[in-house]
Amino acid sequence: MNYVISVMHKDRVGIIADVTSAIKQLGGNLEDMSQTVMRGYFTMLLLAAFPDGTDEAALRSALGAVKDLADFEIGIVPFEPDANNGVKADDSEDRYVLTASGPDAPGLVAAIAEYLRQKGINIIDLTTQVYHGRYIMMFLVQLQPQTDVGKLKHSLRIAMSDLGIHTELRHQALFKMTNEI
């Protein structure tokens, strides 16, 4: 039985040890894992396989029973193998990096995410940061096959200019080539 488990807590030493030890004690095997710390807050998303018969309630109860995990925000959902929603391999020809920058104000990510939803463009990954006084958003996106990139860039630029957001769209291979050996 495979579960996707999310964990969020204020960062401290030993969180990963606590969580993975608890999973091990439940007989679980880690299959995939992503973890980051943002401004002192730890978050982790993992996929683990458990012995047959391990249900969600039992898993939550077992994780909650571990003393050091008692005050963690924990989410558990059964893993569905088709849940990748058409996401292709990392080197997909249609995968682009959308960089956007604007004055630090509420609603910038929402505006771009809504625009992308309307165009049927999936966001694979997103990071943001304030850089030289501007709010910078970096979206890894999966375009629809056969998208006219020139037209998309143009319409995105026009749609976002009212909000003072400057957008650039470039194929991810450029970033890989200029940063990875």
């Binding site: 940061q129 020139g150 200029t178």
Partner: protein
Amino acid sequence: MMQSNQIIGTVEMIQQDNLDVRTITMGINLLDCRHQDIDVMCRRVVNKIESYAGDLVDVCDRIVEKYGVPIVNKRLAVSPAADVAAGHGPEGFVALARAMDQAARSVGVDFIGGYSAQVQKGASAADDILIDTLPEALFSTGKVCASINVGSSRAGINMTAVGKLGRTLKTLAEGSRDQDGFACAKLVIFTNQPEDNPFMAGAYHGHGEPEVVINVGVSGPGVVRRALERRIERDGAENLGLDDLAEEIKQTSCRVTRCGELIGREVASRLGIRFGIVDLSLAPTPKVGDSIGEILTILGLDAIGAPGSTACIAMLNDAVKKGGAFASQSVGGLSGAFIPVLEDSALAEAVERGELSLEKLEAMTCVCSVGLDMIAVPGDTPAETLSAMIADEMAIGMINKKTTAVRFIPVPGKVAGDRVEFGGLFGGGTVISVPNAGKSARFIRYGGHIPAPIHSLNN
């Protein structure tokens, strides 16, 4: 997902530091276009160029959309015209130049190089006709560029051709007097001319090249400059040695080259044409912030041309090659830092202030690419003096087993200190002083050949 600082770094290289692909140059073999009938030869040339390069500009434009990296120039390099038109008289050569020009316009490229001949050991009848027709060919076309290889480390220097080309430069300058002698900017005179160079005006499609090939010239002085500035801001100049700065240049050159490699290979792939080489040259533009001279200033020279300039450019040139060679599967062309005076705002200003002399430029060309390039000299410089200046630069290439080249513009009616403006990538600047003009005529009048140098006892 890549790290956000890597994404921001790449975007900054393009948006603020002037990273671009300077040229995508398609090389095309035209030797099978030869024919005794001039019209048939010209028709074959146009048809062949159109069939291979018809989609070049469109494909480049689509790749610019995909990666958001400008491709500044789309160009063609073809087989030496002296070989294609051999057997014809002057009218056949000029007709070929016009056919090249017509084809270049038809496919929408910026320039076509290959009105060329290799005469380092001696000139054939066709080579002589090509040199004789240079003025008419360049005056009657807009996109054609010419190059003559007059020397090599294996063959020596053809001084008769060098003597002739001094006079050719005068004719070209006089014939384009209303443009300050601009026709001279389309003629490069080489020693050890590369067969796969994508940069103009010296590009041609060499005999050892495949039927058709895509070569790429990267750019990047602005990126190197900003990388050095950031490193010095971050660590403090007092905490850095030149080896640290060389390493920074090397790593930046690697990133710039990777970008050129990616784009060049994709152009080749989409056109179904073999990819040739990435030329690792740092090619400046007249734009402020995209200059080799500015890099020398950041490396600690308060005046470009001051003592230390040669050492500085040697380090820069070597670091660029090391970083680029690691980044690309196949490198070639000129591969080095260019110092084309009129095309580099900081170099042009150094000449204007009297800080950078012709002699110091000549010394710097001993250790970098590619030679005395885009230099405006007084219009009354005698032809023999121009030839002697060419000979000096060719000798540097011959002895040091490197490519050297000359692009002089003797500006009609102008003297040292006067301004010239060519606009666009050709830039502008000040006419440089030529010391001892008129004192080399007896040397040049000998003509003949400087024998090939000995390849041992290297001191």
